[in-house]
């Protein structure tokens, strides 16, 4: 039964208080008709006796206390899903935004989803080759993982994400990834960059786009990742597709949450963000993964810009506490023209151990990775020392490491935007660089691999220049 009220007693920011309501439910969806005939949507944040506090997705402009009518729809926010959504563009609440026909839903699903039973999960362990050495070689991504990109304003996170989307494949498998892209508060230009890129690579038919752009209602953003995940879950676990979910920019999402929290006068947590930000982000991020006996999977790459490049800011911080690692882009590297500027020391893929090695990438991957990281760290230390004391103060060994780290940044981390390296190329390049350092220093590598790869008499041409 749908009930309608015109008893709005208070409008504050994105919130609306409706009085004298009978039987409103928590999380219930409402429609608001303004005096000028506009329709807005909202959801119930709290019901106290006959008072319902409503969050308006489109913001409260145009709402007045006298002439508005509020309808309680008796259901929670849901979205009709279908695989016809592939190739289409929707707004942040899942309404078609392109010229295409209306979607004929195969199912109507609550956008909040439900938690996956931990016993139903299957552990992500299939290597995804992204063709980017600093990811594949060092911060290996696996199918079903959630791996965010921490970036800063002006850094090329969109290019990195687009390159991953373009090049991602699971070796030996034919299935291509389908992409669910949720844009939250990014500019038209940024969104367009992705659309152009998908179009160019012919991927557009495999992409579902949800666009809430910078000039779209901010509060709507809170629903965008949920809508995106609802579609992703359907495509992955009902239709058996492998889905890459890309969400950009989670910082804008969190700011919308903060706005609601402030309007509700909640006790703020760190930097004004609500105390439940962790739980809220988790209820989004944790929807990715694999499920036993299901063919599809959801791999998540959220992008977020760190305010002031500060990794301890609540948004990257809480994200890092939920995701399985992080790819951090470094301004320092970018200034030195290293691109993609992946900070390989601070970045981490926590699931890499299960996705690399014999039968997945190559037997020597783990040892090689450890050795590269160790050598690079030593080289960076030498570089720091050289800044303080001058290069002359370095020992001969330090000089070798310094040279190594420079080459490592220039040839291994740096690569072209359209350069798609196979995992063998990435690994061989690693060995080629390691050969700059004396064999006795290779403490993290098993002898058999040293013999096989380091000592290789005719080192294959590994470096692909891009």
């Amino acid at each position: 039964m749908i009930k309608e009220y015109s008893s709005i007693s208070n409008v504050a920011g994105p919130l609306l208080l409706v009085e004298g309501v009978d039987g409103a439910k928590y999380e219930e969806l409402v429609e608001i008709y303004t005096g000028t005939g506009d329709k807005k949507r909202g959801r119930v944040l709290e019901v106290d006796k006959d008072r319902a506090l409503v969050q308006i997705f489109e913001g409260s402009t145009g709402i007045d206390v006298q002439n508005c009518r509020v309808r309680f729809l008796g259901k929670t926010l849901s979205i009709g899903v279908s695989d016809d959504m592939l190739g289409r563009v929707f707004d942040g609440l899942g309404r078609p935004k392109d010229a295409g026909p209306a979607i004929i839903p195969e199912a109507l699903l609550d956008v909040n989803g439900a938690p996956i039973n931990p016993t139903a999960r299957d552990y992500p362990n299939e290597f995804i080759q992204t063709g980017i050495s600093s990811v594949d070689g060092i911060n290996t991504l696996v199918r079903g993982q959630k791996l965010p990109v921490f970036s800063g304003s002006g850094l090329p996170h969109n290019k990195v994400a687009a390159q991953i989307v373009r090049q991602a494949k699971v070796l030996g498998k034919e299935e291509e990834f389908a992409v669910v892209f949720g844009a939250m508060g990014i500019t038209f230009e940024e969104a367009n960059f992705f659309i152009q890129d998908f179009t160019k690579s012919g991927a557009l038919e495999r992409v579902v786009l949800f666009l809430n752009l910078a000039d779209d209602p901010a509060i709507e953003r809170i629903s965008t990742p949920r809508v995106a995940f609802t579609v992703a879950e359907y495509l992955a676990f009902t239709k058996g597709l492998h889905i890459l979910v890309v969400l950009s920019d989670m910082t804008n999402y969190a700011e919308a949450l903060r706005e609601i929290s402030a309007a509700r006068k909640e006790i703020p947590g760190r930097r004004g963000y609500p105390g439940y930000l962790y739980t809220d982000l988790a209820s989004v991020y944790e929807r990715s993964g694999r499920i036993k006996g299901k063919k599809g999977s959801i791999t998540l790459i959220p992008i977020l810009s760190m305010p002031e490049d500060d990794k301890t800011h609540p948004i990257p911080d809480l994200t890092g506490y939920i995701t399985e690692g992080q790819i951090i882009l470094s301004r320092g590297l970018y200034r030195r023209k290293v691109s993609p500027p992946v900070d390989v020391q601070q970045s981490l893929s926590r699931l890499k151990d299960k996705g690399i090695g014999k039968g997945k990438t190559r037997e020597d991957h783990a040892d090689l990775f450890n050795q590269l990281i160790a050598c690079y760290a030593r080289g960076k230390e030498a570089a720091e020392l050289a800044v303080i004391l001058g290069e002359a103060a370095l020992t001969d060994m330090d000089k070798i490491y310094l040279k190594f780290s420079q080459e490592y940044e220039g040839r291994y981390i740096s690569q072209g935007e359209y350069e798609d390296r196979t995992i063998e190329q990435t690994l061989d390049l690693g060995w080629e660089l390691l050969r700059m350092v004396p064999r006795g220093e290779m403490k993290r590598v098993r002898d058999e691999y040293l013999k096989k790869y380091y000592d290789a008499k005719t080192p294959e041409k590994a470096g692909v220049t891009g």
Binding site: K25, E28, E46, I116, P118, A120, I267, T279, K294, Y321
Partner: protein, 609 residues
């Protein structure tokens, strides 16, 4: 069933009127969906209820059913190898019943009702028994002999006790007390928020070995002790908790995944049945109970999960076992408290946490301890607790960290700096501490060698000296150091890289027995002392750091437990090599003396740091 009526719904908090007669912490069922909730506030006839399930679609006017009981756990055979949610609902059964996603209003008993267990009495009819007395045993898994105890509050003379295969709900024993008959089953219930009684607390004196070198050798935890590992994301808290759950020398492990990742629980579920207990060779799962309330599961149930876990642990302690609880992460538990408290509009304390945060944290850790249990035969049990803490930005001034540090006795400080260098476990050897070192010294030395603790303090001194020297190096470069000081750096480096560093994912390195730890450390220190002696006797620093045998030292960690003798052999090799160098050096000196007067071999450039 008495019922009240909902007046308010705000996320996980529901307020209901007409609740007169209910008590704090009573469990209620909310709406006709029968969502599980717990009363956390009472005012007049209004009750504030934290709901353990998602409340969307619930609203004023709906009913709240009172149960007049607090939140219980079921204790009896069937706990081991189970995975429960925060309020002890078996997740594997839920999956069978309702599919891959957790839906609402599920009612499944915690312990399987249709499984039979073989019960063997250990007391005879006619015996007078009282709470905690052992009535008999059930071989629950190959690793766990489940003792069936007389439940708290029950006593009398045994009239009848049966041997055979029974359900947990079957009567296995009847008592008579004051002419009243009392039937006992293998299962009983206990409210999670009330600690189970024990007879007497004992001082910690035994070490809980964990197979992790930095922990056992430098910052050990005692059986019945408490420890915490705070650290920023990615610093290795979960890996440590998993390592302890795998390798700690405890008879029962209760692992609480509190508000963390779903995949981490899956990892345990897939890995533990495969991994073998180093002592018995049996799968580790056979001694493990899992509680999983992941970050996307309802927040209030997260709050309950740590109590559910520790109550189950106390129950096994009462049987006389050494039990270890891992809680990952206690910060998520505290955040759940904060969220409920905020919605109750309580006066916030620091960072919005409720004023009772510290009290709750300390009463949780207080449930740890080594005790003489209630009941006969006399026995000792131990409950050790290790909590992960996840402070925002890794900042140790966080209220949860501070509240925790005030109660726990061991602090493993995880540092992201070490994690970036891939030095794992990223436990800082300079900032961590253990207050049990003296209490358990005797025990550790008995298990290894007389000088184990001395060796450990000697090594720690070297690490501390290294830190001081590094300050100097940072300012003026390594060349300014004397060869002796540079040798200290080398010695410390060897301890860090060859001993402290331990790869959790390497099949052998993942676990080191105390014996292996002792042997490894003593080789590191032997090498250092020999080198110092050689330096004194004129051998060049450069020649010392170039020695090939260092490679063998670096690979000690990959030696299997059955081949530990090889480690001792390294010492002989070291002696031979150093003696050779010293001899060579003396000879050379003598010849040089004859020609030039004195040698100039002391200053050499070599490896830095």
């Amino acid at each position: 069933m008495r019922k009240g009526e909902i007046t308010k719904v705000s996320g996980p908090l529901v307020v209901a009127k007409g609740m007169t007669g209910s008590k704090m912490y009573d469990v209620v069922r909310v709406s006709d969906e029968r969502l599980v909730g717990e009363i956390v506030g009472l005012a007049g006839d209004l009750a504030s209820i934290q709901v353990y399930e998602d409340t969307s679609g619930i609203g004023p006017g709906e009913a709240v059913y009172m149960t007049d009981e607090p939140l219980f756990v079921e204790l009896g055979p069937g706990l081991i190898e189970s995975i429960f949610d925060g309020i002890q609902r078996p997740l594997d059964i839920i999956k069978e019943n309702t599919g891959d996603y957790i839906t609402r209003g599920i009612e499944v008993p915690a312990l399987e009702r249709d499984k039979k267990w073989h019960f063997k009495p250990t007391v005879k009819p006619g015996t007078e028994v009282s709470p905690g007395d052992i009535l008999g045993e059930v071989q629950e898994t190959t690793l766990v002999l489940h003792k069936i105890l007389v439940p708290p509050g029950v006593q009398g003379k045994i009239k009848d006790i049966k041997q055979g295969d029974f359900l947990v709900t079957d009567v296995i024993c009847s008592l008579e007390h004051d002419k009243e008959k009392h039937d006992l089953t293998m299962m009983h219930r206990w409210p999670v928020r009330i600690p189970r009684a024990y007879k007497e607390r004992l001082a910690p004196s035994l070490t809980l070995s964990t197979g992790q070198r930095v922990i056992d050798t430098f910052f050990p935890i005692a059986k019945g002790g408490t420890a915490c590992c705070p650290g920023p994301f990615g610093s290795g808290k979960t890996v440590i908790q998993h390592q302890l759950a795998k390798w700690a020398d405890a008879e029962i492990i209760v692992y609480i995944g509190c508000g963390e990742r779903g995949n981490e629980m899956t990892d345990v579920l897939l890995e533990f049945p495969e991994l073998k207990d180093p002592r018995s060779g049996e799968p580790l799962m056979k001694r493990t109970v899992l509680i999983a309330n992941t970050s996307n599961m309802p927040v209030a149930a997260r709050e309950a999960s740590v109590y559910t876990g520790i109550t189950i642990a106390e129950y096994f302690r009462d049987m006389g076992y050494s039990v270890a609880v891992m809680a990952d992460s206690t910060s998520r538990w505290a955040e759940a408290m904060r969220e409920i408290s905020g919605r109750l509009e309580e006066m916030p304390g620091e960072e919005g946490y409720p004023a009772y945060l510290a009290a709750r944290v300390s009463s949780f850790y207080e449930r740890a301890g080594r005790v003489k249990t209630v009941g006969r035969p006399e026995r000792e049990g131990a409950l050790s607790v290790v909590g992960a803490v996840s402070p925002p930005g890794g900042d140790l001034s966080d209220p949860v960290v501070q509240a925790t540090l005030r109660v726990v006795k061991v602090f493993w400080s995880l540092e992201d700096k070490l994690a970036y260098q891939r030095h794992f476990p990223a436990i800082s050897w300079l900032n961590s501490y253990s207050l049990y070192i003296d209490d358990i010294a005797e025990d550790v030395n008995k298990m290894t060698a007389k000088d184990f603790t001395d060796l450990s303090s000697e090594a720690m001194k070297l690490l501390e000296q290294e830190a001081e020297l590094q300050e100097i190096v940072r300012l003026i470069g390594v060349d300014a150091l004397s060869p002796e000081d540079r040798l200290i750096l080398e010695g410390a480096r060897s301890i860090r890289e060859d001993f402290l560093h331990q790869n959790a994912f390497h099949e052998i390195d993942t676990y080191a027995s105390l014996k292996k730890q002792y042997k490894m450390l003593s080789v590191c220190m032997f090498n250092y002392n020999k080198a110092r002696e050689a330096l004194k006797r004129g051998v060049a620093f450069d020649d010392i750091v170039k020695m090939d045998i260092r490679d063998k030292i670096a690979r000690m960690r990959y030696l299997e437990e059955s081949k530990l003798d090889t480690i001792d052999a390294i010492k002989d090799e070291l002696t031979a090599e150093f003696d050779g160098m010293i001899k060579g050096e003396t000879k050379q000196r003598e010849t040089e003396k004859e020609t030039t007067g004195h040698g100039d071999n002391e200053k050499g450039k070599g490896d830095r740091k």
